[in-house]
Amino acid sequence: MAEVEKRDLPCVVLFNINGSGMGHLSTCLAYANRLQGRARPVLFSLASAIEMIHEMGFEADYFVSRFWSRATAWAWDRQLALRLGMLFERVRPEVVVFDGTWPYRGFLEAARAYGVPRLVWSNLTLYKMGMRKVPVRESGFDLIIQLGELGTSFSTQREVMPGRKVTIPPVTLLRDEAILDRGNARDSLGLDRDGRYALFSLGPGNLKDISGIGRGLIDEMKKHGYTVVWTRAPISASDPGLPDGVVSIAAYPLVRVMRAFDVFVGAAGYNTCCEVLQSGVPALFVPNTMVSDDQTGRAEMVAKAAPAVVSPCETLAQRTDAINRLLALQVRERATPLAFDLGGAERAADEILRLITSARCE
């Protein structure tokens, strides 16, 4: 798009927190992807995979995550408010979207001080029981977008603004047409078209040491004659040592090449589950129980509707059983098209654009 035309588009700042993986960044990128051409998305990311954002064609700034920084919460929030304010004053957003569980004080303060015209809070709905209530009022936001799980269709919980609240179907980073078929995906990764491949994506390992489980699953998979392909997460601070014969790749978004693989083994984060549903690849979910969202609940929900197995895989017996069940699924159900509404990102983009229109009409 010509620079002049792009300049005339309304700016939407998308702010993603840094969770256990790339989920919040992926959600913001999914929104940005659907806003492209109708708005000018600028990301402010606490996840450090900035080059991935640029590769997808978007502008971004970065600030160190609160979970990584040794600064106190107060000092970190103070810096966050100032950095965001600096950005807002230059890009002049008409809408600012916060994607995350707990809107930071620094974020809210920057939005207030700058006078952001429209504020949006995008968040998951499926959390573990007993999670502490977030002490932030929804009425402080013009729109709350709740990311629905499998089987969710678009609905409006509260119509009036501020605090209009909608639930959207699952969000996928890419549109279906952007996902490579099996042959092209294998070619793009340099994999043998006739080989048997298992994709492993157990997360960056920044919150939970998955190396033991990972190694055990690799051994099981190799016994069945599969080549294991291990994804290196762009935000991981270190790589686990991989056994001989394991192929390491760095691919983001992973869903683009997911159909290259016969089976998938990974954590059950929101975006991973959506990617599994979108690609139709049989999956073994190893839920990460150290995060706030209910990965076990989500994985079980997906497994009822799609070719998927759920297991903690902490013991050898659990791993053997899980891999056997996964491979049985793979024989029975490979490439079965699934019919779910995964158009959440489109609905979110429409809602964000509606906000811009409403703000301009005032």
């Binding site: 620079e3 792009k6 300049r7 600028v42 450090s48 995979a49 900035i50 080059e51 640029h54 502008e59 971004a60 700034d61 970065y62 160190v64 979970f67 990584w68 920084s69 040794r70 600064a71 106190t72 107060w74 000092a75 929030d77 103070r78 810096q79 408010a81 100032l82 950095r83 965001l84 304010g85 600096m86 950005l87 230059r90 890009v91 002049r92 004080r105 620094g106 809210l108 303060e109 920057a110 001080a113 700058y114 002490p135 009022r137 920044n206 762009p234 935000i235 991981s236 601070a237 270190s238 790589d239 760095a250």
Partner: protein
């Protein structure tokens, strides 16, 4: 130019940049604690009394908590930062320089690096374990954002000694040549 001269030139440039930063920015985005709309009447009253006493000089102000530049997954490397100023660097040259700085880590004498850069190579940076301050180039109308952020960072880290990336590229640099104090 000798390394000492390069360091001197960079530190002078950063002083100038810092002098051009916006003093009102911090005040404009000062953090209020906690957001008043969530407080009970009693807490509001207590806060109002506190504000008044501080305004009259009868109570000390809340001390400003320092900005710690260490990362949680990097233990025991000290807390005093030094800056590696890498604006306008080539990606591969910067990687080479970073490797050089890592090999010089005994010369840091308890300091930890903060990398200030406009290069988006975070897959590499994240394994270094350093705080990265990114200075992106944005398209119009935000084309001056990078300059603004660079000025702010120069001011924010004004007390930390800065090094050019050439310090990481030179062979056989002695610790005292880094002038880290």
């Amino acid at each position: 130019m000798t390394l000492a001269e390069e360091i001197e030139v960079l530190r002078r440039q950063l002083l100038k940049l810092a002098s051009e930063s916006e003093p009102l920015l911090a005040a404009r985005y000062a953090l209020r604690f906690p957001p008043p709309e969530q407080l009970s009447t009693y807490r509001r009253f207590r806060l109002a009394v506190g504000h008044t006493l501080r305004a009259l000089g009868l109570r000390s102000s809340r001390p400003i908590e320092p900005w710690l530049t260490g990362l949680r997954h990097q233990e025991g490397k000290g807390e005093q930062p030094f800056i590696i100023w890498a604006i306008g660097a080539d990606r591969d040259v910067l990687r080479q320089a970073c490797r050089g700085f890592v090999s010089l880590q005994n010369a840091w004498s308890g300091r930890i690096p903060v990398l200030v850069t406009d290069v988006a190579d975070f897959a590499y940076f994240s394994r270094l374990g350093w705080l990265v301050e990114y200075v992106p180039t944005l398209s119009p109308p935000a084309e001056h954002y990078a300059t603004r952020k660079a000025r702010y960072l120069a001011w924010h880290y004004r007390d930390a000694p800065a090094l050019p990336i050439s310090a990481g590229l030179r062979e056989g640099v002695r610790p005292e040549e880094l002038l880290l104090g």
